[in-house]
């Protein structure tokens, strides 16, 4: 694999005495669509702000497009496209005015491309920003993030507040506009089912650290729910990668990562129970297991 476009190592950040990021490590391959997931308040936006140099890291290194986020702040802003969460734009401006205004900050602003984008994203040039629909609003924010033709684009929860149709439309533009042009997209969301169809890779942020990162389809293959039949006090001791344990009647449901033949045998041996079923999970269930799973090693049935 070539050099990752975004590389975060050991990133820490605190708001006052509250440590929000507790050693985040992340690599985003060039040209990929990367889904950055986590529940509300897990530190997604904070990570993005440090990555853009808008917040100062407590410790660790962030590199984006070969630049140091903390040292080359201006260069980062010029080379990266950024769409903030719930981006505020001046409502009294007309679409064409705000486009010109934002463009004036960027030396590399591509006016011809922007005109094409206005048509492609079906944005009314003469309308005032405050009269736009939510969907148009997010498309305008996307356009403003793309006008200087960045090779890396960071979208912070871009579909927040959009209805399902506008959301799908937005994702369509991400694929058609960005993936088609080999732009790397770093995309945060708290909706896994939304990320899955579009993301090559996903990372799950939980309590300020990355709980899991990998290729989207591999994540899906590696996590399984298995049902064991047994009774009594069951000790799962040394089994690694248990995400969730639940007793259901005389059965134990175990959600487990990196599931394999070897692990299957180890589980049967440790628990002295027979595996009666093996179930595939959808990504939402996998996400849930990582976020709120009960990681106990003992279960009473």
């Amino acid at each position: 694999m070539s050099e990752p476009v975004i590389k975060i190592e050991g990133l820490r950040f605190s708001y006052g005495s509250k440590e929000v990021l507790r050693g985040v490590d992340l690599e985003v391959p060039a040209g990929s669509i990367f889904g950055f997931l986590g529940p509300n308040g897990s530190g997604k936006t904070t990570t993005i702000k440090v990555l853009l140099g808008l917040l100062k890291a407590g410790a660790g290194v962030c590199r984006i497009g070969g630049l140091d986020s903390q040292k080359d702040v201006m260069a980062v802003r010029r080379s990266v496209g950024y769409m903030a969460e719930d981006q505020q734009m001046f409502g009294w401006m007309r679409v064409e005015q705000i486009v010109r205004w934002v463009g004036s900050f960027y030396p590399g602003w591509d006016e011809k491309f922007v005109q094409e984008l206005l048509d492609f994203l079906e944005l009314p040039r003469k309308s005032r920003v405050k009269t736009l629909s939510k969907g148009q609003n997010s498309r305008l924010a996307l356009l403003l993030a793309l006008g200087h033709r960045p090779k890396v684009v960071i979208l912070d929860d871009p579909t927040l507040g959009l209805d399902p149709i506008a959301r799908k439309d937005f994702l369509r533009y991400v694929i058609g506009l960005l993936q088609s042009n080999q732009v790397t997209v770093f995309f945060s969301s708290h909706l896994l089912y939304e990320i899955e169809p579009v993301a090559d890779y996903v990372a799950i942020l939980k309590d300020g650290v990355i709980a899991k990162a990998g290729k989207t389809d591999e994540l899906r293959q590696s996590v399984k729910k298995i049902l064991l039949r047994g009774a009594g006090d069951i000790e799962l001791g040394s089994i690694a990668g248990i995400l969730d344990v639940a007793g259901i009647g005389e059965r134990i449901a175990l959600t487990i990562e990196d599931y394999s033949q070897a692990k299957q045998e180890a589980i049967e041996k440790a628990s002295k129970c027979a595996i009666v079923d093996e179930v595939d999970l959808n990504l939402d269930e996998i996400f849930e297991a990582y976020i709120i799973g009960n990681r106990g090693q003992r279960v009473q049935v």
Binding site: R172, I175, P197
Partner: protein
């Protein structure tokens, strides 16, 4: 030549991976004759845009269907429905069907549907799809 629009539904809450869902639906449409040998399918980019699905996912779908000789890529002109199943060895074809039938058998046992009833049901489904194919074949 006219490029067909393929109707594909993605079920986000399904435990079946998205690429698998698309493969299954294209296979089904070829089996029922909605897609015929020689029909041109959309490009990777078009289908990705239409479904709002990552282009690499569609690429994976097309690559696998090409490896199975269900689709074929003709350089410069596009991707087409190939002759398909005839090119897969009999043993392999049987293996694919057996795998699916195993799932059906498991369900039948779970739901207490007898072997005879299950066979009957399979026959019905088989005939229904063949009928559908004959109908669409006459278009």
């Amino acid at each position: 030549m006219e490029v067909l629009i393929i109707f594909i539904r993605i079920e986000p809450s399904s435990p079946v991976p998205i690429y698998r869902q698309i493969i299954d639906q294209i296979r089904y449409q070829i089996a029922t004759g909605v897609l015929k040998e020689g029909d041109q399918v959309p490009s990777v980019r078009q289908l990705a845009g239409e479904l709002a699905v990552n282009q690499n996912t569609i690429l994976k779908v097309y690559n696998q269907l090409c490896a199975e000789k269900i689709l074929k890529i003709e350089r410069g002109s596009g991707t087409f429905v190939a002759a398909g199943k005839q090119n897969i060895p009999v043993a392999e074809r049987k293996r694919i069907v057996a795998k699916l039938l195993r799932e059906a058998a498991v369900q039948a046992i779970h739901l207490d549907v007898g072997l005879e009833q299950a066979k009957e049901q399979l026959e019905k489904e088989y005939e229904a799809i063949k009928l559908l194919k004959n109908k669409t074949g006459a278009r």
